[in-house]
Symmetry: C2
Subunit: 145 residues, 2 copies
DNA sequence: GTATTCTCTACAAATTTTATAGACTTTTTA
DNA sequence: TAAAAAGTCTATAAAATTTGTAGAGAATAC
């Protein structure tokens, strides 16, 4: 399971992606709308900024915004930044690889299967982007029609 | 990432699968060969037994053994028993479902993507079984040829 | 009936996750 | 140019989970 932190990150990014053209968005705004503890969210957004996913502006009229077009940031990237490895085993991870204590990967059948799991998972997470998880903006829907 | 507990479970099952026809295997034996803390392993094997994956026999000549043919137990089953949910989000889990606080799944784009991730992952984990991760038994390989 | 082996419950230590506090810096603007 | 607005940064605390240990108990084989 993704950590709460990562779930918060995805919600925040989903919110920001939908407001891409509307200039910087306040942390406070995101926290309230998405019901995320504000101080926790601060840390998360900062991390996303340090990873070049978000940009920010200080002072009046400031806030956070996507640094690139929503379709340029994959969900895999987000998860790796906030949560770490996507693979189910360390010996199978592309970005957080760690050798197993005793096993030799060339002949380890467990390793082989989990490479397949990783690839299946990544096929989705690398291809889906913030564009695909954009918030539907309620205000934009006209129910009077 | 899978917990150490689940990794131990998979190693133990991999060991047992390869020794399927040789009668019960001692906890001690598995623990030594797979370098798993024995008391921890006891708990794990017991859990696998309670989940009907393993059978056991007490007393001299006793030990643990697979309850069914190796190809009858999927890796998904094992992971669910030991680790819990395979899905990345609670609102997307088949066996450990939990509703999100504020989101309505029908229109939640995050939910939709993670259903796809889940299905891609499960396609592998449901189809692969203990047969696929059987230990290669070193003793059985004849290097003299 | 005793040695062997799994069973069960409780607990303890370590680590990770979740969250909060508060002082600091940058920017805007009156 | 000072005050208000907003993000930055580091440290710490609380809670939860994971990892591992202890030891008495029950079943079985010989």
């Amino acid at each position: 399971m993704l950590s709460k932190k990562t779930q918060y990150a995805l919600k925040a990014l989903s919110y920001l992606a939908a407001r891409q053209d509307q200039g910087p968005v306040l942390i406070t705004d995101i926290a309230e709308q998405k019901k995320i503890p504000i101080k926790f969210l601060e840390n998360i957004l900062l991390e996303l900024k340090n990873a070049q996913i978000l940009g920010s502006k200080k002072g009046r009229g400031g806030g956070y915004f996507l640094r690139n077009a929503p379709d340029k940031t994959s969900l895999a990237t987000v998860i790796r930044v906030v949560d770490g490895p996507i693979a189910l085993l360390p010996c199978v991870s592309l970005y957080f690889y760690q050798k197993c204590a005793d096993c030799t990967e060339e002949i380890c059948p467990i390793n082989a299967v989990f490479v397949q799991v990783r690839d299946a998972t990544l096929a989705v997470l690398e291809s889906k982007t913030l564009e695909d998880i954009q918030d539907l903006i309620p205000e934009a829907i006209d129910f009077s029609i």
